[in-house]
Symmetry: C2
Subunit: 326 residues, 2 copies
């Protein structure tokens, strides 16, 4: 085997967007991508078979584990190597745009960025190492392994929309179903400078849901999905509610009820916790209104001496993609 | 007030179809109408203010309560009289096509048939008693009062689709949302000659749903609704599952697991309990296949010495409507 061939492969950089999981109505099964903020992952071939090395972590987080058994990007590429029986390894450089413990799908983004970059890289290798583009389902499978390393369980509601873009429903089989979203509705994501560990946010949840609450939440989910398919903003507004998880987690976010009341008063269709928090999100009709609301929310955090960042993006934004090759 | 005017009003007969509630994925929030079987309700004006009299019950059930506080049709018309302040009463004749305790929405059908017939009758009265056609939301409100008299609680998943037709999602506000259904998929409804009381079927349910089961069932609901909107039969097939209620109620239906296995083996997209049972239903691609499956299911019941009837209808069937006026 002529290992010199790897030297010509260069590197591929992929961008993987932040994602809002749960989306009020779909705990653990629904998420959407938020363009404009995300992780950039650059992957090169390593000659050593089976070796995955994280050589650099930069950006808003630098203290992530580089150890390949704990880093989500590295675990994802190990899964790819094992599944495909690749005769080489990978090196990874990660530029984090997503803060740790922000509820914005940071660990999913690093894993997805890595598999998208590595998948593209494989198509550029010289024969006999060259590969056809990998199926989306395969990329998902590898990225989920990475996500599992971070959160301790397999949940597709960040990885799915990060890979596929837009609003994505995840079935237990991990099949991804794209849900259309109404035009001219914008997503607003606000990240207060606090950290909540997913494991902790999961730990406080009751292990059971009362039957009546389950029925109510199911109807909100149904109404929300129907509203998305029908592009019926008033149906979305009526349905975008979380009566199960949000009441249990709101206490983790200072000022949550004030933030929510303000967003809804100003015209947001819905407002809730992004993933396990502390970031919060809203769906808002119109970009200008979304920007106004985001300013108000940042102000509310500031009054509590918490600095915050906000992003406003169209709802239908693309998933992870190759940004550059060299 | 010239009460002679009521004499010329004659009577109006409405047909209200059977309905399948729950539809596997949507306990208490989803139902669809099954044309070809239902109740016929004939309503005339009674001169006595506020009086509602059930003067005849015929058809497959004759031992229903005629007492107007217990009869769903009468309670519904009392609600109409009270809300509109009508200066007269109604007499009701009911021809039941839906067996009691069959899980086919019989009490809802009588209530809906009554309000649809009475609503039409009001438009035929001479001035000053004549009324404009009532809003669907008003008819729903009155019919729900009737349903409440029968089941002890307000659930819209029979009344909603019975009134509106087709597959209907009910929000907690009792707003009805029509869900499109794929063409060429047929509903198959099999009624074994057994009786299950709704209250009993409700009584055996656990009061809590485990968190993981809730998440799984939410994704089936989401997948099912997305499959309906996308007309994606394979997505419907993958998602038409009930992991919460069906396992608790299947024991009430002799041979349930054999019936289900047979229906799915023969090609049904999904199979579950209709409402609180003992009727069962399936969604089947193609009329011929639906008829084949229905014969097999009837046979399975017969081998257990249970006689059964089956109906096969297109999924998108109309709701209650006026059948004749005289």
């Amino acid at each position: 085997m002529n290992r010199e061939l790897f030297k010509t492969a260069g590197s591929v950089t992929a961008f993987a967007p932040a994602t809002v999981a749960n989306v009020a109505v779909g705990f653990d099964i629904l998420g959407f991508s938020v363009d404009g903020v995300g992780d950039e992952v650059t992957v090169s071939v390593l000659e050593t078979p089976g070796k995955v090395e994280v050589i650099e972590i930069s950006g808003v987080v630098t203290d992530l584990p580089k150890q390949s058994s704990k880093n989500t990007a590295a675990v994802a590429l190990h899964a790819m190597i094992d599944d495909l029986g690749l005769p080489h390894g990978f090196s990874i450089r990660i530029k984090k745009g997503i803060a740790m413990g922000s509820g914005m799908g940071g660990s999913a983004a690093s894993a997805v960025g890595a598999v998208v970059a590595a998948g593209a890289l494989l198509t550029r290798l010289d024969p006999p190492f060259r590969r056809k583009p990998l199926l989306e389902a395969k990329l998902l499978e590898y990225a989920l392994q990475g996500e599992k390393a971070a959160s301790g369980a397999i949940h597709g509601d960040n990885v799915g929309p990060c890979l596929k873009g837009g609003l994505t429903l995840i079935l237990p089989s991990m099949a991804m179903v794209s849900i259309p979203t109404p035009r001219d509705v914008f997503a607003l994501l606000v990240h207060p400078d606090l950290e909540i560990e997913t494991r902790q946010a999961r730990g406080i949840l009751k292990k059971e849901v009362p039957l009546s609450q389950w029925v109510e939440q199911s109807s909100w989910l149904g109404g929300f999905l129907a509203g998305c398919f029908k592009s019926d903003l008033e149906l979305i507004r009526a349905s975008m509610k979380d009566v199960v998880i949000e009441p249990q987690r709101a206490q983790l976010i200072p000022g949550f009820s004030e933030l929510k009341a303000e967003a809804l008063k100003l015209g947001a269709l819905g407002f809730s916790i992004s993933g396990s928090g502390p970031s919060v999100f809203a769906w808002v009709p119109g970009k200008e209104l979304a920007e106004n609301i985001s300013r108000r929310l940042i102000e509310i955090f500031r009054r509590r001496n918490i600095s915050a960042h906000a992003w406003v993006t169209p709802l239908s934004s693309p998933g992870a993609r190759v940004r550059s090759e060299s």
